[in-house]
């Protein structure tokens, strides 16, 4: 197992380099100049020149990239061009916010998707199955931002049940923090839950057809025990794969959800940074995102081995 982890980590390095080069290059292709955006309304020529020199924006792109890599290798992700705040501290400030959103959204997704998938597979072809499918399809087709705005209007403006937007750190006020995050987490989790339900259902269906399930039934085991202990455990392997892939979708979805609910997380940070051509921030965020994606996939690989004893020997 350790060898697998080590191998994966070694492959991660070129992946990160490639991703960072790609983003660096793509950013430079964007029309728009961070210094002009930063110089504000007055566009003082002298200030523009000073800023350009200070952030090495007058150098050729490969040199800029090399300088960035050098700094990153020294643990320095640079400074936000717009706010003068170090990128590392921005990331440290925003990452927990998005993690909280992601974890809560995952709880919703898992809480809705897996039971619904199991039930609809177990009761295949019944009204329960069709009902779950209809809900799943609507969950997948309703756009994030629309659901978000509707929820704000109904739950916050009309009913005054939950805060309409913003963020409260759990260390400051735990319950208020959970309450503030409920709607966005639900919005983000709903679409994922729907996908998860579909995948769980099809994984369960294929497992339920297997011989050993028939054997288990024939032995006289309870239906519930067969489904949960025998079928679901084996269905988990494709589900874990999907979960790891959904993590990417979760991060992408967080960008929109954070915009709608004004959550000061990773997504909002990167969108603002792109609009202001705050290169250093975009680079830093992309690097951390790619890294976390790699880690999540690594964890899912390890989980396969835990879930499937056959893989341990090979």
């Amino acid at each position: 197992m350790l060898r697998i982890v080590a191998n994966r980590l070694i492959v991660a390095v070129p992946t990160l380099i490639l991703v960072s080069m790609l983003i660096f290059g793509l950013q430079k292709l964007l029309p728009g100049d961070p210094v002009l955006a930063m110089a504000g309304e007055d566009q003082d020529a002298q200030v523009i020149a000073t800023l350009r020199a200070k952030y090495h924006l007058d150098e050729p792109v490969p040199v800029q990239y090399a300088l960035w890599v050098r700094d990153v290798a020294h643990g320095d992700l640079g400074t936000s061009l717009r706010t003068d705040v170090p990128v590392a501290s921005l990331i440290a400030e925003k990452l927990p916010v998005t993690l909280q959103l992601a974890v809560m959204a995952m709880i919703f997704a898992l809480g809705i998707g897996i039971p619904a998938g199991i039930v609809s597979a177990a009761y295949r072809g019944t009204a329960l199955d069709y009902g779950a499918n209809v809900i799943a399809l609507s969950g997948m087709s309703i756009p994030n931002f629309w659901l978000g705005i509707m929820l704000i209007f109904i739950v916050s403006v009309r009913w005054h049940l939950l805060p309409s937007s913003g963020y409260v750190p759990p260390t400051e006020h735990f319950w208020l923090s959970i309450k503030t995050m409920l709607m966005p987490a639900f919005v983000l989790g709903a679409a994922l839950g729907a996908q998860l339900m579909r995948h769980t259902r099809s994984a369960m269906l294929s497992v339920l057809r297997a011989d050993y399930i028939r054997t288990a039934r024939a032995k006289g085991l309870l239906r519930g025990a067969v489904i949960v202990r025998h079928a679901f455990r084996n269905a988990l392997i494709p589900i874990v794969t999907v979960l790891a892939l959904l993590f990417g979708e979760l991060l992408a979805g967080a960008v929109l959800t954070e915009q709608v609910f004004t959550i000061p997380g990773f997504g909002k940070l990167v969108v603002d940074a792109v609009f202001n051509r705050d290169y250093a921030v975009v680079q830093g965020v992309v690097l951390v995102t790619a890294l976390s994606f790699i880690i999540v996939n690594l964890v899912s690989d390890v989980l396969y081995i835990v879930l499937n004893p056959r893989l341990r020997r090979s």
Binding site: L36, E41, T83, I149, S156, L161, P163, Y167, L269
Partner: protein, 504 residues
């Protein structure tokens, strides 16, 4: 798995059991901003919205009244020398910075010197006329100029006149993350994209007039969500209400709508001489005039602006003493527009309009497209994001540009850099020696009486040459909870909290 399910059940249970959103506690005022602020350092600040936060955080030497006349703030009085080259300020005594340092002439000098020398200072060009600053006595300071600068007082009513605690100035990174100023509220915390928290500074010289204890600024860029927050009670007021939401706010019994015409404007800039893309019929002023004649400003105001986009025909706001009331408005006249185009040798014309994309801008672009179509101008629309539009403007990569300016108190700020041959913001590279002379001379005259004729003459020349078509004055629409009392809007859009309170 089971633990996850339990956690999910718990969170849902919590949501159901505890009601009501975060409530207004005591005298905390929560203000929704349209965008997050940039730097917290007044010397580095580059955005309009920064000034809204600074207005509570950092006091200026002088301030403006609603009529744009200068009123005392940290300076109690001021005099200009006969040659216009020395501005002497008498300073308020007994004023303290938020770290307890005393405010005095040395502090003023330290701040102005920093604004003029910090390499990345955005205040340098505003203070370019300053030669040096003299400390006359602890409460008298003289600003000595290279040449007379009529706009300096206005400059000092803005970020260049904001006084920070001298002991903190050496650490630029510290100022940007935790500014220590001289205003009624001191800095507590900033979470980027989320909030800026200020708390009342009890040592402020005018503290009795500030009943609000805590101010929280929350940037919420989405106008719908910003308004929803106000309605749900998560905000007490917001700035820059979307025009399309004005009727809804007016009808809401819990809200109040307050609006004022700002100092700035929205305009169309024609590319006359900036790069290869200026090679269009727009070089002919008859074509520019025809373009203007095809536009119906009142319709834009009615349809898109909900009545708050006051039509403009010049760079200066109506509230300014320099506003030229005699300058005629160009009203829509399609026949005349067509005739002018014909005289210039064009029946039909293809042009491109570049604009930074947002809801209002794209509505205006589409309306302009329809209007000029009737005069025979086929307008192609090119929406870009703001940063790209800015780049296009500088590089001359546009034919017609829809853009705006937040405005300055002094007329110079709305005219000089846009219309002089080498102006920073003269994107179309319009150049007229007479205009240059008038605008340069007006900088050096001492008062309204002597400056106004020069600005009137320049306005006339500009209206005739039409390098820029002014569309409407930038509005500052606010929506407030009925609980907020004592708020008055100013043309500069700043939120001044003197005597503002919350009463249920």
């Amino acid at each position: 798995m089971r633990t996850l399910m339990i956690a999910a059940a718990l969170t849902i249970g919590v949501a159901a059991s505890s009601g009501a959103a975060a409530q207004t506690s005591g005298q905390t005022l929560r203000i929704g901003l349209q965008e997050d602020i940039g730097s917290l350092d007044p010397a580095r600040s580059a955005q309009v919205v920064d000034r809204i936060v600074f207005a509570s955080l950092c006091s200026t030497l002088v301030d403006i009244g609603p009529d744009l006349k200068f009123v005392p703030k940290l300076a109690t009085s001021w005099t200009t020398s006969a040659d216009g080259k020395t501005l002497t300020f008498k300073l308020r005594q007994g004023v303290k910075f938020q770290d307890g340092e005393p405010f005095n002439a040395a502090a003023v000098k330290a701040n102005l010197d920093r604004d003029r020398t910090l390499p990345t200072s955005n205040r340098k060009s505003e203070l370019a006329s300053v030669d040096h600053v003299d400390v006359i006595d602890p409460y008298t300071v003289a600003i000595v100029l290279k040449s007379p600068d009529a706009a300096l007082l206005a400059t000092l009513s803005d970020r260049a006149g904001m006084m920070l605690a001298p002991n903190t100035l050496a650490d630029a990174a510290g100022v940007a993350t935790h500014p220590v100023c001289s205003g009624p509220y001191k800095f507590v915390q900033r979470v980027q994209n989320d909030r800026i928290v200020l708390e009342k500074f009890d040592g402020y010289w005018d503290a009795a007039h500030y009943p609000i204890q805590r101010v929280i600024f929350q940037p919420i860029p989405d106008t719908t969500v910003r308004l929803a927050n106000l309605r749900s009670g998560s905000l007490d007021m917001l700035e820059r209400l979307a025009p399309s939401d004005v009727p809804a706010v007016k009808q809401d019994p819990n809200l109040r709508f307050v609006s004022v015409s700002g100092l700035g404007f929205y305009d169309l800039t024609f590319n006359i001489a900036n790069g290869p893309r200026s090679n269009t019929p727009l070089r002919d002023k008859r074509v520019r005039e025809a373009f203007e004649l095809a536009i119906d400003r009142d319709a834009i105001n009615r349809v898109i602006g909900a009545g708050i986009f006051a039509p403009a025909n010049q760079a200066l706001p109506k509230s300014s003493p320099y506003y030229d009331a005699a300058l005629p408005f160009t009203h829509r006249d399609i026949a005349k527009a067509k005739a002018l185009l014909k005289a210039a040798g064009h029946e039909h014309l293809n042009l491109e309009l570049t604009f930074g994309n947002n809801t209002v801008a794209s509505q205006i672009a589409q309306m302009l497209q329809a209007m000029v179509q009737e005069a025979g101008i086929n307008l192609k629309l090119r929406p870009t994001d703001y940063a790209a539009a800015l780049n296009a403007a500088h590089n001359g990569d546009f034919e017609v540009l829809f853009t705006g300016w937040s405005g300055r108190v002094d007329p110079d700020g709305n005219l000089h850099q846009f219309n002089t041959c080498s102006g920073n913001l003269n994107y179309g590279h319009y150049c007229n020696a007479d205009v240059d002379k008038l605008l340069n001379d007006a900088r050096e005259k001492p008062d309204v009486a002597t400056r106004k004729p020069l600005y009137d003459a320049a306005a006339k020349l500009l209206a005739d040459d039409d390098p820029i078509v002014y569309l409407y004055a930038q509005p500052w629409p606010f929506a407030l909870s009925k609980k907020v009392h004592g708020f008055a809007p100013y043309p500069d859009g700043l939120i001044r909290l003197r005597d503002v309170s919350i009463k249920d």
